[in-house]
C-alpha cells in the first residue's frame, strides 16, 4: 500500500486546522466547510486503506524516518498502519465527520464558530496521529495534543465558570495519568533504547527486557490509559467534561479520545501479556470501573451525566477485555461503542438543543414531538444495552465470552450484573424522557434540523449493522485484527443466553418501574435510602478526593503561606532594616572615597577614549581594510608555518 494515503489522511486535518485558524473566516460556512471537506476526503481514504488491508492483510505499512539523532540514541517518526489502526482510522474519521456536520446545526450562531471548527480539526488531527504512530514517543506527543484539544473544547464556553473549571479538572487529572505514562515510556526507553512498537514487542516477547522494567513500563502505560480512558480512580474528570458542547462530548468523551487509552493498551498488549500480574490489574480495574460507574448512572438525573457514566462503564468493559488478553474484542467493542455512544450523545444534544435543559425529570413524552431523535436514541439505547441484533450485543458478548473463557468467574458475574444495570439505567432514561406524560417543556419541543438528524441516522444505521461482521459467515470477521486471534469464533450459547436474559430483565424492570409504575420509584428510593443517597452522590468520590487530596494540599499550602508570612518575611524585614542602617553609613563613605575613585576612573577613561575614538571613523571601508590586514597577517603567518 502506498504510504502517502495514511499520511494524507493525517495531513488533511492538519491542513484544515491551519487554514481554519488563519483564514477560516473567509471560507463558506465560516470555515466549517474546510474541516468538513478535509474530513470527507480523509474518511474516504481511510475506507480505502481499511479495504486494502482487509483484502490483503500483509500490506501493512511500518515506516520510520529519523527525526532526532543523538548519536547513541535516535528518535524516529513513523507510521504503522495495520488492520488494527485501519479500523480506528475509519471509526475516528467517520464519527468526527458526523460530529462536524451535526455541529453545523448545534453550534449555529455561536460567537467563536470558526474557532470551534479549528479545535475540532486539531483534535481530529491529534487523534489520527495517535492511531498512526509506530512508536511510543510520537504517540505520547499526540496523546498530549489530544489532551490539549480536549481541554480547549471542554472549556470552549469558558465564560461559564463550570466549563472553565471542568476543562482544568480534565487537564489536571489526565496529567496525573500522563505522568505515569511518561515514566513507563522512559523506563522502557532507558532499558531498550527504542520507542518503536515493533522493536519493543520483539524484545519483550523474547524476554530481553528485565521483568522489573516490564512491570514499571506496563504499569506506567496502563496508568496513562487509566487517566485518558477515565478508569477507576481517575475517572472523575469525565462527568464534569460534560460542560463542553454536546457534539464535543459525543466526539471526544464518548467515541474517540477516551478510547485512546483502550487503543493504547490494546496496541501494547504484547508488552502487557509478558507480565500476567499487570494483566490481572488491568482486568480488575476495568471490571470494577464498569460496575461502579453503572451503579452511579442508575441514580443520575442529568441526561448527559447518565451517558457519561455509561461511557466510563463501557470503557471499563473494554479495559477488562484487554486485561483478559482479548485485544480484538476490546477494539470491536470500541468501534461499536463509538457509533452508538456518539449516537446517544448526539441524540441527547438534539434533545437539549430543543428543550434547553439537561434534567430528565423535566422531559417526558418527547417521542411524539421528536420522532427521529427518539427513534435513533432508542436504537442507540438498545445497542448499548446489548439487545440482539444490535451491534452492542455482539461486541459485549465477545467480551463476556472472553472473560468467561479466561476463567475469571467473579469478573464474569460482575460483567453480567453490569449488563443488567446498563439495560436498566438506559431504559430508565428512555421511559422517563421519551414516554409517559408530556412535561411543560416537551410540549414545545421541536425536531432538530436535518443537518443534525442526518448524521444521527447514519450513526443509527451503523449502530445496528456494525456488529454483524462478527456473525460467522456474514462479515469478514474481526478474527485477526492487529494480529490478535479472536480465539472463540464459535458461539457460546450459554453466555449469549445469559446476557440476553439479563438485558431483558433490565429493560423489564425499567419498564415496570418507570413506564407502568408498578412500583413507585420514590418508594424504592426511600426503602434503600442509604444506598440511593450513596449512588446519587456518586459514591462521594469527589468529596473523598476533596477531603483526602485537595484539602490536605490546600492546608499544606496555607501552612507554607503562614510560614512565609511570619518567619521568611520577618527575616526579610530584619535584613531590610539592617540594610538601611548599613547604607546610611556607607553613604558617607561613598561620597568621600568611592566617588573620588570613580571620578578619577571616569577622567582616565574619557581622556583615553578621546584618543581612541579617532579610530572609529564610521567609514565602512576603513573597517574592511583593518579586517583585511588582520586576515592578511594570518595568511602570512600560515604561509611561513606551512
Amino acid at each position: 500500500m502506498n504510504p502517502v494515503l495514511p499520511v494524507l489522511i493525517f495531513a488533511l486535518p492538519v491542513l484544515s486546522f491551519g487554514i481554519t485558524v488563519l483564514i477560516g473566516r473567509y471560507f463558506p460556512l465560516k470555515g466549517a466547510s474546510v474541516g468538513i471537506l478535509g474530513l470527507v476526503v480523509s474518511f474516504i481514504l481511510s475506507c480505502v486503506v481499511f479495504y486494502q488491508l482487509q483484502v490483503d492483510p500483509t500490506r501493512t505499512i511500518d515506516l520510520s524516518v529519523t527525526w532526532l539523532d543523538f548519536g547513541e540514541y535516535t528518535i524516529d517518526l513513523g507510521i504503522l498502519i495495520d488492520r488494527f489502526a485501519a479500523v480506528m482510522l475509519v471509526v475516528v474519521t467517520l464519527v468526527s465527520l458526523c460530529v462536524h456536520i451535526y455541529s453545523l446545526g448545534y453550534m449555529k450562531g455561536d460567537r467563536r464558530f470558526t474557532t470551534y471548527y479549528a479545535y475540532l480539526s486539531l483534535f481530529t488531527m491529534s487523534m489520527l496521529g495517535i492511531v498512526i504512530s509506530n512508536n511510543l514517543f510520537q504517540l505520547f506527543v499526540f496523546w498530549e495534543l489530544v489532551g490539549v484539544s480536549s481541554y480547549l473544547l471542554i472549556g470552549f464556553w469558558f465564560e461559564r465558570k463550570p466549563a472553565a473549571m471542568a476543562g482544568m479538572k480534565a487537564f489536571v487529572v489526565c496529567r496525573i495519568g500522563d505522568f505515569g505514562f511518561l515514566i513507563g515510556i522512559l523506563s522502557l526507553f532507558v532499558a531498550t533504547g527504542t520507542f518503536s512498537f515493533g522493536a519493543l514487542f520483539g524484545l519483550s516477547q523474547a524476554g530481553a527486557i528485565s521483568s522489573a522494567v516490564l512491570v514499571v513500563g506496563a504499569l506506567g502505560i496502563f496508568f496513562g490509559a487509566v487517566g485518558k480512558s477515565a478508569q477507576l480512580p481517575l475517572y472523575v474528570w469525565l462527568p464534569d467534561a460534560m460542560e463542553g458542547p454536546t457534539p464535543v462530548s459525543a466526539l471526544i468523551h464518548a467515541a474517540t479520545m477516551v478510547a485512546a487509552g483502550v487503543y493504547l493498551v490494546a496496541r501494547t498488549l504484547p508488552i502487557f501479556s509478558t507480565v500476567p500480574q499487570i494483566m490481572e490489574v488491568v482486568a480488575w480495574v476495568g471490571g470494577l470501573t464498569a460496575l461502579f460507574s453503572a451503579t452511579i448512572a442508575v441514580a443520575q438525573v442529568d441526561i448527559k451525566r447518565i451517558l457519561a457514566y455509561s461511557t466510563i462503564s463501557q470503557l471499563g468493559y473494554m479495559m477488562l477485555a484487554c486485561g483478559v488478553g482479548a485485544g480484538a474484542s476490546a477494539i470491536f467493542h470500541l468501534s461499536t461503542h463509538a457509533f452508538f455512544k456518539a449516537l446517544l450523545f448526539l441524540g441527547a444534544g438534539s434533545v437539549i438543543h430543543s428543550l434547553h435543559t439537561n434534567d430528565i425529570r423535566e422531559m417526558g413524552g418527547l417521542f411524539s414531538n421528536m420522532k427521529t431523535t427518539a427513534t435513533v436514541f432508542i436504537i442507540g439505547a438498545l445497542s448499548l444495552a446489548g439487545f440482539p441484533p444490535f451491534s452492542g450485543f455482539f461486541s459485549k458478548d465477545e467480551i463476556m465470552v472472553s472473560v468467561l473463557e479466561s476463567g475469571h468467574v467473579w469478573l464474569y458475574w460482575i460483567v453480567v450484573f453490569t449488563a443488567f444495570l446498563t439495560a436498566f439505567y438506559i431504559f430508565r432514561l428512555i421511559f422517563i424522557a421519551f414516554f409517559g406524560e408530556q412535561s411543560e417543556r416537551s410540549k414545545h419541543a421541536e425536531e432538530s434540523p436535518k443537518v443534525m438528524t442526518v448524521p444521527m441516522v447514519v450513526l443509527a444505521v451503523l449502530s445496528v449493522v456494525a456488529g454483524w461482521i462478527a456473525i460467522p459467515g456474514v462479515g469478514p470477521g474481526f478474527a485477526e485484527i492487529g494480529g490478535f486471534e479472536l480465539h472463540h469464533l464459535h458461539i457460546n450459547w450459554s453466555a449469549m443466553g445469559t446476557s440476553f436474559l439479563v438485558v431483558l430483565m433490565g429493560i423489564g424492570v425499567a419498564w415496570a418501574i418507570y413506564s407502568r409504575r408498578f412500583v413507585e420509584s420514590r418508594s424504592i428510593y426511600n426503602t434503600f435510602k442509604p444506598i440511593s443517597k450513596l449512588l446519587e452522590n456518586k459514591w462521594y468520590v469527589d468529596e473523598i478526593y476533596n477531603f483526602f487530596i485537595v484539602q490536605p494540599v490546600i492546608f499544606f499550602s496555607r501552612l507554607l503561606f503562614a510560614f512565609d508570612m511570619v518567619i521568611v518575611d520577618g527575616a526579610v524585614n530584619l535584613a531590610g532594616w539592617l540594610g538601611v542602617r548599613l547604607s546610611k553609613f556607607e553613604g558617607e563613605f561613598d561620597l568621600a572615597v568611592v566617588d573620588g575613585a570613580v571620578n578619577g576612573t571616569a577622567w582616565t577613561a574619557r581622556t583615553f577614549g578621546r584618543a581612541v575614538r579617532r579610530i572609529q571613523t564610521g567609514l565602512i571601508q576603513e573597517y574592511v581594510i583593518v579586517a583585511s590586514v588582520a586576515i592578511l597577517a594570518l595568511i602570512i603567518i600560515g604561509y611561513y608555518l606551512m
Partner: protein, 210 residues
C-alpha cells in the same frame, strides 16, 4: 610543443579567453567611473564565469549562474542604479579617501594568495567527464537528502530577505498618509534639525565633515 594535443591547446585557448574576460571585466568593474557601465561589465564577468563552469562540466550550475546572476541580481543592480543615479550625474571622484591604502592591502592580499596557491596541490582533472545525465538529478538528490536542513534554512533566508527588502525599501506612506511633497519637506527639516543639533554629551564637535 611536445606532448600537447590539439584538444588541449584548444581548451587552453578557451580557458585563457574566458578567464581573460573574467579578470579584465572584473578590473573594469572596479575602475570604471560610469557605474552603469561597470554594472554591465559585472554581468559580462558573470557570463564568462558561466563559460568557465561549462569548461568544468557543470552545465547546470552554469545555467543557474546565468539565470540568477545575470537575469536576477544583475537586473536588480541595474534597477538600483537607475533609481539612484541620473545618466549625467557628474562623477567627481569614484574612489574613497583610503584609496591608496586599500589598493595596497588588496595587492598584498593577492601576492600572498598566489604564493600560497603555488604550494597547493590539486589532482589533475580526471579523464572521465562528469556524468552529464545525472548532474541535475545528483544535485537535486543532494539538496533534498543530505543538505535538506541547509536547504530549508536557505529558503527561510530567502523569504526573510524578500520581506525585509520590501519593508526597508517601501515608501514611508504609513506616516499619516501625507502627500510625498509634504513628507519630503518634513524629512528635510528633520534632517536639518538633527544636523544642527549640538551633540549634547559635552564632547566637542569634531571631524564630522571631512
Amino acid at each position: 610543443m611536445t606532448g600537447l594535443e590539439t584538444e588541449e591547446i584548444l581548451s587552453a585557448i578557451v580557458f585563457y579567453l574566458l578567464s581573460g574576460v573574467v579578470v579584465g571585466s572584473s578590473i573594469l568593474v572596479i575602475t570604471l567611473r560610469n557605474i552603469f557601465r561597470s554594472a554591465l561589465f559585472l554581468l559580462l564577468a558573470f557570463f564568462a564565469t558561466a563559460g568557465l563552469f561549462i569548461t568544468l562540466d557543470a552545465e547546470f550550475i552554469a545555467a543557474v549562474q546565468v539565470l540568477i546572476y545575470v537575469g536576477a541580481i544583475g537586473v536588480l543592480i541595474l534597477f538600483a542604479i537607475m533609481l539612484t543615479r541620473r545618466i549625467q550625474d557628474p562623477v567627481a571622484k569614484s574612489t574613497t579617501r583610503s584609496f591608496i591604502l586599500g589598493a595596497f592591502v588588496s595587492a598584498a592580499f593577492l601576492f600572498f594568495l598566489i604564493l600560497i596557491l603555488g604550494k597547493i596541490y590539486l589532482p589533475p582533472f580526471p579523464e572521465t567527464g562528469a556524468d552529464t545525465e545525472g548532474i541535475t538529478k545528483g544535485i537535486g538528490r543532494m539538496l533534498l537528502t543530505y543538505y535538506l536542513l541547509p536547504f530549508e534554512v536557505v529558503s527561510v533566508l530567502l523569504v526573510g530577505a524578500l520581506i525585509g527588502a520590501v519593508v526597508i525599501a517601501r515608501k514611508e506612506e504609513a506616516r499619516g498618509g501625507e502627500p510625498p511633497e509634504v513628507a519630503l519637506e518634513r524629512e528635510r527639516k528633520d534632517r536639518e534639525i538633527t544636523d544642527s543639533k549640538p551633540d549634547g554629551n559635552g564632547l566637542e564637535q569634531n571631524d564630522r565633515k571631512h
